[in-house]
């Protein structure tokens, strides 16, 4: 597929529709999404923020082992899932629980990984969502392969593959983009450039003018978009998804955003960034921006807001309920699904563990009987 350079290079400035006060800017590169979609996006944003807050609280209460929050990046999470059709697929990272839920995965199932109950709590085939990937950029190749399969099968399935700015330095990132471009695959690579890979700033990941500039090297278009402007993200993602579906090949979308929380609860971000910088980005909150615009357009009534808040609260309550119960996974799960059929070796090891557990239970029982006996004396 030959392209003119000018078609592949990102614009001078990121695509942006809205300023922070909700005023529409003079953006002519893409059409503004319809109000009805922006209303749906706002609803999703509010739910997303509530999920992030709830999960961070659940970490503090010891109910979740870890939570890499997408607080501040919710517009990207929402725009990754909303433009997809049911038959499409999403290939997310550890930070993208909100996008996973946006595809229809029940929140409680999306948290199974971070709860330490199982490595993935949902059936990827049911929702068109690959397991959340932790080894960086590995999922991008799976996304390309999946899109290759769709192409070979004559389907018009589109795949959105997500990663962070840091992950763009991994070899797998380059291989995935190259393969997708060479085969003309229906993949939209969505890079959330939140400025940091844990403590390491973007300047350590690339010397290019932007991450979107990498696209031209593979022969695909690169687009820069304001990652805190849900309207701009939706416009860009829709265009890229439509293009992919029509057989136009992959697109690299770089969304400029910011991680408001530390990398995870285990990280201390005061070691590597200024509070003032964080505050600047708090002021660019994606929720406030879209809300202001909808209010200016008279497209968000007080009643609608109440309803959205109630919906978000319901999702938070669902999460709390699901994670309140101290669920103990079945030890036999250790040996299930290692292979299609359990090997004799694994049967033997399960028998050994079952024996250990039985003896533990016996000695616990004996101890408690002993304690009761002591008490009775």
């Amino acid at each position: 597929m030959a392209h003119e350079d000018s078609e592949l290079l990102p614009g001078e400035t990121p695509v942006r529709f809205l300023d922070q006060d909700g005023r529409a800017l003079d953006e002519t590169r893409y059409p503004m999404p319809p109000l009805s979609e922006l209303q749906a996006a706002y609803r999703a944003l509010v739910v997303a923020r509530r999920i992030n807050e709830q999960c961070s609280a659940l970490v503090r209460q010891g109910r979740l082992a870890v939570y890499p929050s997408s607080h501040g990046q919710e517009a990207c999470e929402v725009a990754a899932a909303l433009p997809l059709a049911e038959r499409d697929w999403l290939f997310p990272t550890y930070r993208d629980a909100v996008a996973v839920i946006g595809r229809g995965v029940p929140p409680a199932e999306a948290m199974v990984l971070l709860q330490g109950d199982w490595h993935s709590g949902y059936d990827p085939r049911e929702h068109g969502v690959a397991p959340q990937a932790t080894p960086l950029a590995t999922q991008l190749l799976h996304a390309a392969g999946f899109a290759h399969a769709a192409k070979l099968r004559g389907e018009d399935t589109v795949v959105v593959a997500m990663c962070g700015d840091g992950a763009t330095s991994e070899g797998d990132f380059h291989e995935a983009l190259n393969l997708a471009a060479v085969f003309g695959l229906a993949v939209v690579f969505l890079v959330q450039n939140n400025g940091f890979a844990i403590s390491v700033p973007l300047s350590r990941q690339t010397a290019a003018a932007s991450l979107a500039h990498k696209a031209i090297g593979y022969g695909m278009p690169g687009v820069r978009v304001d990652g805190n402007d849900a309207a701009a993200l939706l416009a860009v993602m829709h265009a890229a998804v439509d293009r992919a579906r029509a057989g136009g090949g992959p697109t690299l979308v770089e969304a400029h955003t910011y991680r408001i929380q530390a990398h995870t609860n285990a990280d201390d971000d005061t070691r590597y960034r200024d509070r003032a910088e964080v505050q600047e980005w708090v002021a660019r909150d994606p929720l406030i921006r879209l809300r202001s615009y909808l209010r200016v357009c008279d497209a968000l009534s007080a009643a609608a807001e109440d309803e959205i808040t109630a919906e978000a609260e319901a999702v938070a309550a669902e999460l709390r309920d699901a994670l309140q119960a101290e669920h103990v996974p079945d030890p036999e799960d250790l040996f299930r699904h290692v292979y299609a059929e359990r090997t004799p070796r694994l049967e033997e090891q399960w028998a050994m563990l079952a024996d250990e557990l039985a003896r533990d239970a016996e000695s616990e029982h004996a101890e408690s009987e002993h304690a009761e006996h002591e008490e009775a004396r």
Binding site: V112, L136, A167, V200, Y272, F335, E341, E347, M352
Partner: protein, 353 residues
């Protein structure tokens, strides 16, 4: 002597290496201002500058591959891999390049690269953060593979690894990072126990338990518990998995006649197989019983809530000791036929939680 954690002792070794040798440079992810996710490089960039303590782009193959180039041009790179599960992108560079360069060039090129890798489980982490990949590396000729398990060994072995002209994979058991002890930071490397020597950490006469890394602590507890019941266990912290100090281990096994090998990693093709096989070859006439392996199961590393059922603990080690002493059947299932294997294809899949 200074009271240091295992992590603090490693930091002390890095500090010393940077101060003593201009050719030493540190490379890794988040090792600069952040001081590494386990804080082993805390403050080193502030002291030695960003030209010596280098935050790299996020690319493990890139880090290892460029370390090869740096070493070819006179540096002694010390690489930090953030977690065991993230060394795999660098595996090609390690196995195909790093391990073979000296050999390929007829000894003309030496690659004095130290690869620090946090290793093992038991910390309640999510997937890919608790791997035990030591057998892959120990299997690869041309690189040395060592595991330190105490603050004192951390302080000395890391300096020895950096001073060594061979590439060294240096495993740091995560569960030990916060273990504290008195450490002599000024040990003279010329008189210290050499890097490739094992250490007898508890003396005993009935059973030899060979282990390394975080399992050393578990085995010492087991030795104490067994001692209370009149069984005398010798615990050997192997320290170096490649090469192995066969002489020390063999001497012990010849005395006790009984061998138990303990590691967290899966059993199949695990490092315990090498220990058991070699000692069987070398000490067969002295063995009173077949060697016993006490290991993790042959499964991908499990989720946090189940890891306690995967990792060998005190009881599992004592079971192994009982078995080698002939006190129980060799395996709990050997008495009865193994249950029939079930086909998952004909079963409705159970929910995964």
């Amino acid at each position: 002597m200074t009271r240091l954690t295992f992590g603090g002792a490693l930091r002390s070794a890095l500090h010393r290496a940077l101060a003593e040798d201009d050719r030493v440079v540190l490379l890794g992810e988040d090792i600069g201002v952040n001081g590494g996710v386990f804080r082993v490089t805390d403050g080193l960039q502030a002291e030695f500058g960003p030209r010596r303590v280098i935050d790299t782009p996020l690319a493990e193959a890139g880090i290892l591959g460029t370390a090869v180039g740096l070493a070819m041009h006179g540096f002694r790179p010390v690489v930090e891999i953030q977690f065991d599960g993230f060394v795999y992108p660098a595996f090609d560079q390690i196995v195909s390049q790093l391990a073979k360069m000296h050999y390929r060039t007829g000894g003309a090129v030496t690659l004095p690269i130290t690869m620090r890798i946090p290793v093992g489980g038991g910390i309640g982490a999510a997937e890919h953060h608790s791997e035990s990949p030591e057998a892959y590396f120990a299997h690869t000729a041309g690189i040395r593979t060592v595991v330190a398990s105490t603050p004192q060994d951390g302080a000395v072995m890391l300096r020895q690894a950096i001073a060594c002209d061979d590439p060294v994979v240096f495993f740091e058991p995560k569960r030990r990072y916060h273990v504290k002890a008195e450490v002599d930071e000024r040990v003279d490397l010329r008189t210290a126990l050499p890097l490739d020597r094992a250490r007898v950490v508890a003396e005993g006469t009935d059973v030899t338990v060979v282990t390394y890394g975080a399992m050393t602590g578990v085995c010492l507890d087991a030795a104490a518990a067994a001692g209370d019941e009149g069984v005398s266990i010798e615990v050997i912290d192997l320290r170096s998995l490649s090469p192995v100090d066969w002489e020390s281990v063999e001497a012990s096994v010849r005395r006790t006649g009984r061998l138990v090998v303990v590691h967290e990693a899966a059993r199949h093709g695990g490092f315990g197989a090498e220990i058991a096989a070699t000692l069987t070859e070398r000490c067969f006439p002295f063995l009173e019983a077949a060697p016993v392996r006490v290991t993790g199961h042959d499964i991908p590393y499990p989720v946090a809530k189940l890891e306690k059922h995967h990792l060998p603990d005190l009881d599992r080690v004592l079971d192994g000791v009982d078995r080698v002493l002939g006190r129980v059947a060799a395996s709990p299932v050997s008495a009865e036929p193994a249950p029939a294997t079930e086909s998952l294809a004909v079963r409705t899949p159970e929910p995964v939680r």
